[in-house]
Amino acid sequence: MTPDELTDLLRKAMPLLGRAADELATLDGAAGDGDLGITVSEGARAVEQALDTLPADVALAALLRAVGAAFARGNPSTFAALVGGGLLAAARAVTDATTVDRDAALAVGRAVAAAIAQRGGSAPGDRTVLDALIPSLDALEQATGTSEAALDAMIQAAEDGVAATRQMSPRKGRAAWTGDRGLGHPDAGATAYLRFLQSLREVTVGTDGRVDG
């Protein structure tokens, strides 16, 4: 896949993400302040706009820079800053990539995860987006076969990761100390990442969700 093809996929996937806004607002409201729905829908809208301004034959790094900056600015917030900042960090990590193959995708994902963990001061198990992101990258690393199959494996791993956050204490154990209003719900940021992967699959393989490989 070329960066231009990825741009095209993202342009189709972004509008689908808005559908998750209500769900994410509710999940974020259960444990936090409820603004994640807006962060994701506004972020997706900002990304879509940024994609439209990209020149043809764009480099992967430039694509990531544009997407990262747009997402960070869409609705500034923790999630926007971490994910947007993560994509900017990834752009620095893939400066010379010109195709988006599995290795490149993995490098981007790992760079994003590392940046989120570093800037957020968080680790797997802290009930964050990392608990879906990292398992999905592990799945990608082990995947063989078509890119559709790899994406499916990533989604499966992210789904499991999201489910696991239900049992995790939000914000590094705060629930153990305070009430348990957030407990039992999956983490909002992890869910947002899962919805992103699912949107990507939807535009990759058609709405029937079946994988053709």
């Binding site: 409201g29 444990a31 302040d33 603004d35 500034p76 100390w177 305070t178």
Partner: protein, 333 residues
């Protein structure tokens, strides 16, 4: 459904700022580079250390309401309950700097921190010295041994008041920062929520509270508290809040405190005074001297019903800084 006097939800914050600037053109102005930055009319002049704050909207008078004389110099404005951008934070820092450096004073929320940290890095590259002090007064948000992780809530007002007075006096950045740190470390707050809030663009409550239920320790965005239970009397609620906010301040006979009984939005001022009555009794019983009492809406959560109690333990320096005059459209002393 939400009962709000608004227009397009997406325009809420910008229309609010437009109204604010139209109402107070003598005191406030928008920064040149960013419509989401509000500054004191005289920002950047006067050879004072700048104080910049910021955060999500929906908390008036927090944050922009504390931009004024003897208070903060500029505020970066986010969407409702969402952080300001790092661009706005940088612009606020630029606008507040007169060459003596800028204190970034805001609440401890990850999003606000991330955006301020980036802005400070960029300001540094431009030759503007910054320091940072985070409000972390909400005792319900982490146990004492993790006090630095706590969220900042209404008690931030005390930090603006004292650091602002120190800056107004002409103290240097290190001294202003030391005052803010001292206040942040000597302030404790806990709140109680009686009803949820509604983010305009979401249009429905972020959480539910049953009829006759209250949530002790609730956060300023509706973050979960320590305990839900049946609504109790004002006296009983105050006793529980007082117990928690006073516990870590080592108050004894003769200790001096400033008290803030803060309304979250929908709770009538009358009820805040009923609460203050009990706070004062508890202080009197302990021979703790209330040097100043503030009762009103100082940090709200849109239309949430509820209140919070903040205590600041005072020493001679803080007493004189707290007593200094200050003036913004929302606070004047």
């Amino acid at each position: 459904m939400s009962k709000k006097l608004i227009n397009q939800p997406a325009n809420f914050v910008d229309e609010m700022l437009e109204g604010l600037l139209a109402a107070h053109p003598d005191q406030l102005a928008v920064a040149k580079g960013d419509s989401r930055v509000i500054v004191r009319k005289d920002a950047g002049t006067g050879n004072r250390v700048g104080i910049v704050t910021g955060g999500g909207s929906g908390h008036l008078p927090l944050f922009v309401g504390y931009v004024g004389r003897g208070l903060a110099t500029a505020a970066a404005i986010g969407n409702v309950f969402s952080s300001h951008s790092s661009d706005a934070a940088l612009e606020a820092i630029r606008a507040a700097d007169c060459g003596r450096g800028v204190l970034c004073l805001y609440g401890n929320y990850t999003g606000d921190r991330l955006n301020f940290e980036l802005a400070c890095d960029l300001a540094d590259a431009e030759g503007i010295t910054t320091t940072t002090v985070l409000g972390h007064d909400d005792v319900a948000s982490a146990p004492p041994e993790r006090a630095a992780e706590r969220r900042g809530v209404a008690g931030l007002f005390f930090a603006y008041k004292c650091a602002g007075a120190a800056a107004e006096e002409g103290r240097d950045l290190a001294a202003v920062t030391a005052v803010a740190t001292k206040v942040a470390d000597a302030t404790r707050t806990m709140g109680v929520g009686l009803s949820p809030t509604i983010i305009p663009t979401a249009g429905k409550p972020t959480f539910e509270l049953a009829e006759g239920e209250m949530e002790i320790g609730i956060g300023i965005h509706g973050e979960p508290g320590i305990r839900r239970g049946e609504l109790e009397t004002a006296d009983s609620v105050v006793e529980q809040l007082f117990e928690r906010v006073s516990a870590e301040l080592d108050l004894g006979p003769g200790s001096r405190v400033a008290v803030l009984v803060n309304g979250m939005g929908a709770t009538p001022l009358e009820e805040l005074y009923v609460m203050y009555r009990r706070v004062r009794q508890l202080c009197d019983e302990r021979s703790v001297v209330v040097h100043r009492a503030y009762v009103g809406e100082y940090a709200t959560s849109l239309e949430m019903a509820g209140a919070s109690l903040s205590l600041l333990k005072l020493d001679d320096e803080l007493v004189s800084l707290l007593d200094a005059p200050a003036a913004s459209p929302f606070f004047r002393q």
